[in-house]
């Protein structure tokens, strides 16, 4: 089926940029979905307004995992001021680039919400 297409499953099975970051320039925030216990925490290492490294850790379904993985790749090298201008929807579209049914949008938006709070 479409949702679990090859690149999504690849990010689910081999998540990119998993882990934590620490240091003075690092900010982090966590987002949870109480309805299923999923949670994600993003770490952004920011120098001169540019994300030099993005990592995340979390537990959840394939959609949550793949979307966090894809978003973490997208964020590398991005300018904070530009991310700040993007709506949550735009960040999901640009940064995750796959779509889900309304019933699964929480799984997809978990990472977006965590990141959006960090760049606000």
């Amino acid at each position: 089926m479409d949702l679990y297409r090859e690149d999504v499953m690849d990010h689910y099975e081999h998540p990119r940029n998993q882990g934590e970051l620490s240091g003075e320039q690092v900010v982090s925030d966590q987002e949870k979905n109480a309805s299923c216990g999923d949670s994600v925490q993003f770490f952004l290492d920011i120098h001169d307004g540019i994300i030099v490294k993005a990592k995340w850790r979390g537990v959840g379904c394939a959609i949550m995992t793949a979307s966090a993985s894809k978003l973490s790749e997208y964020l590398q090298g991005k300018r904070m001021s530009e991310l700040k201008k993007m709506s949550e929807e735009a960040l999901a579209k640009e940064g995750i680039s796959f779509e889900v049914n309304p019933g699964r949008s929480k799984c997809l938006m978990l990472s977006v919400k965590a990141v959006k709070r960090l760049v606000a």
Binding site: M1, Y4, M9, C36, G37, D38, G60, C107
Partner: protein, 407 residues
Amino acid sequence: MFDPKVVKKDFPILSRKINDKLLVYLDSGATAQKPQQVLDAERAYYTQHNANVHRGAHTLGDEATQVYEEARAKVAQFIGGQTTEIVFVRNTTEAINLVAYSWGLDNLKQGDVIVSTLMEHHANLVPWQQVAKRTGARVEVVGVGDDGLLEMADYKEKLALKPKMVVFGHVSNALGTINPVAEMTKLAHKAGALVLVDGAQAVPHLSVDIGAIGCDFYAFSGHKMLGPMGIGVLWGREALLTTMSPFLTGGGMIDEVYVDHATWAELPEKFEAGTPNVAGAVGLASAIDYLETLGMEMVRNHDQHIVEYALRALSGLPQVRLLGTHNAKLRSGSVSFEYQGVHAHDVATILDSDGVAIRSGHHCTMPLHNHLGVMASIRASFNVYTTTEDVDALVQALHKVKVVFGK
């Protein structure tokens, strides 16, 4: 016994296609589908009798009042209560809130104990937490064993705390467990407590006799028993309802109103403020007719058959870990499970692509899921239109999970 394949034909929605596949609806525990007879009854009310009840002296007003009160009488007869003891509400949640606030705020005080259970739907836990917070009472929770049954030794220990109110579900919405409600009620009464039973998952499948249970309050929803959404029932012992304060106040529930005070109508109107859901009540009465035509004993036999079949079929899948007791006789309405290695929401999405609708998540039982160490589970739940072929379709669709996830 009736043939669920024939029954299915009465439910228009069940001939719908989802993702080009015939709908296999296994989410009846969330809400049941409605037979044409119920849909017709609601429509007939609006096209022929609609008017406000207990008010105007005109023909339609009389007719609306008559069909509304006939529905109440039908509900009373169905569960074995008096018509004055049947309060129409929106749903089980509202019925429980009515008792929690109306009885609880007047009767609970600092240090009092309310006993609930770990397997309760949030609707039979959160209202009691709220009332406890306001009155200084506390909520104690009876544990659930690995077998999915309430721990009776723990129940007795909790009763030794001399609770004022004891609340539990008749059938667990997450585990399917049928609790020994009559025995539990007897013990609670002996300890001096009142008893409220959440019957939301029991009334659709079991023949419920309030007198045999012996409880003080019994709550259920129309929409889980083939009736419409937005109509539910609180049955309460007349002597208790009489002494309780109204829950919601305003029109329809008063006797006399002065600028500075008011007196209340007789039962059950005292608890039915505002314009009621007459079409919903009429639809619920029609759903009861439908169930009685099938026969509640046959409904229970069919439920047993499907639960047993599903338990056996699912236990044949190595990835499936069933939740709750494996003894079908102690269960009703549903089978919940984990698919090991794949998140419940992912399983749900893949099943949906085959037209199979199931529930994934915590099913409004977060404390129970925390206790079981399960983040989210999958629940297949049934009603009179469920066939063994529907269960086969579920098992077939689960094979697709293995294909997609390789697990």
